[in-house]
Symmetry: C2
Subunit: 296 residues, 2 copies
């Protein structure tokens, strides 16, 4: 999660019993190095790094991951064939993030260890098929043999159990952790999330790479351009550079790009990561008991 998941969030998640991930998307290589080193000092539990393949400096990033002994890499937004052999050769576990059955199969063929299947409701970059978590998980489960991690709309123990009932082996939680004390996003953004309402996020920029974000002035400009049939060049110009940084890290709630999932509308409190994880587990255990009690 760009601008969100630095060493504080990743190590807090790891120390709470999750697999914490450092989001490399918003980090220059030297910053990533610093975060990995700080994360190692803050936890002795396993953690990973998420690398979207559409950013520059990839070779330098991969070298840092290997040199620092990171054992797990989540890869998104790119061809799984490009880097999987490199990671496997180094003994690193590779997980690919996909938004469709087609890409899940491609990732499996490329030799990844697991896939994250991410539904339409997820924040940030998203699949073109717009398949929701409820539809995507059973379809991926039917086709792939490797472990399947569900993402998109999962912020509670109930949704975790629902995703596993649909066929997932585990879940990836994003949005809920953006509203954590340890997330490195600007306080304005955390506040915006916990006061957001249903319908406040939208999947947009479909002519470029579809992305789910909160509606604001920046979004209105994009929408107006799309409504008049703007070209990809014009949309690229409106998007400009560093929009996500402006919003998520610097706190400009109107001109920034605010990537977040649809479930933000159900997140009402900023909490420490450990409390969030404990609540998810407690609710999961309760939902398990309830699930056994439904009778026809």
């Amino acid at each position: 999660m760009l601008w969100t998941s630095g060493w504080r969030l990743a190590s807090a998640a790891a120390n709470s019993g999750c697999l914490g991930l450092i989001g490399a998307a918003s980090m220059y290589p030297d910053i990533l190095l610093e975060h990995i080193q700080k994360c190692k000092k803050a936890t002795n539990k396993p953690f990973g790094v998420n690398v979207p393949l559409l950013y520059p400096d990839l070779e330098e990033v991969m070298k840092i991951i290997v040199d620092e002994g990171v054992k797990i890499v989540f890869v998104s937004a790119g061809n799984p064939k490009t880097w999987t052999p490199f990671f496997k050769e180094k003994g690193i576990t590779v997980v690919h993030v996909v938004g469709s059955v087609k890409f899940a199969l491609k990732a499996q063929e490329a030799g990844v260890d697991a896939v994250v299947a991410e539904g339409f409701e997820a924040g940030g970059h998203n699949g073109r098929e717009e398949t929701t978590t409820m539809c995507l998980i059973p379809m991926v489960k039917k086709e792939v043999k490797i472990p399947l991690i569900a993402a998109g709309g999962i912020a509670t123990g109930r949704s975790m159990l629902a995703a596993m009932t649909l066929g997932a082996d585990g879940v990836q939680v994003g949005t809920r952790f953006v509203a954590s004390e340890e997330a490195s996003v600007h306080p304005n953004f955390k506040q915006r999330i916990i006061t957001s309402q249903e319908g406040d996020t939208v999947l947009t920029l479909k002519k470029l790479v579809p992305v789910r974000l909160l509606r604001n002035e920046f979004y209105k400009k994009v929408q107006a351009a799309e409504d008049r049939g703007a070209s990809t060049e014009e949309l690229q110009h409106i998007l400009g550079r560093a929009r996500a940084k402006k919003g998520m890290f610097e706190g400009d709630m109107e001109e920034g790009e605010l990537e977040i999932g649809q479930i933000a509308a159900a997140v009402r409190e900023i909490k420490p990561v450990k409390d969030i994880v404990d609540e998810i587990i407690a609710e999961f255990l309760l939902a398990q008991k309830e699930a056994g009690s439904y009778n026809f």
Copy 2:
């Protein structure tokens, strides 16, 4: 379900242990009367009628429902205040179909007995917020006190249990029954469903009333018009009249409007309703056992 759910499907569902619904949307009043009377002959179990409030002849339709002694009405696409008092006065159970928390609350305030909360993945008319079933069900559950029926993406026992884990008291299954032997849609449409692929449905006509349908020549015309920023009048002209009939009932797979849910891509066989229901229940019971066995 327009052009789908006549007396054959509704009575078969009722006889299989579900609440079968006759879809009045595609029926003139005299046809609806015929279907209700045939349904009563074909089953002694309860069944209901679904009435979208955006069609004409509503008073005549409501009179038939009352005169024929129909005890359960599902209402969609309209203000819950308009007809709820009428039904309640006659002792009829009223359920409203909604796509958002906001409309669920409005329906509850109007005195309906239950709501169907229908996610973005559902076929046909759909909410403007684009909230998916995974996000919508917990949010509606948190706000409303009346019984909650989940819809959108539910075609199997696993997805039924997942929806109930999210907070639903029951589920409404649409798409799976369109590919049943008893559905009155054209065989071409059933065949198109069981050969459809992920990404084949899309939510479109957002400037009019958002509707999920299968991509075909008709959809391409709509999409091309939307891409160039067409007005609602132009879109209305492209849509024209009786598009759904042309596709779903008459079997024109290119020029017709083919309303169906995203989960169509996971439906691979046309079966009798009873077999579909038996499979859903068997899988639900299996998924219940599995749900109890996940350990941390």
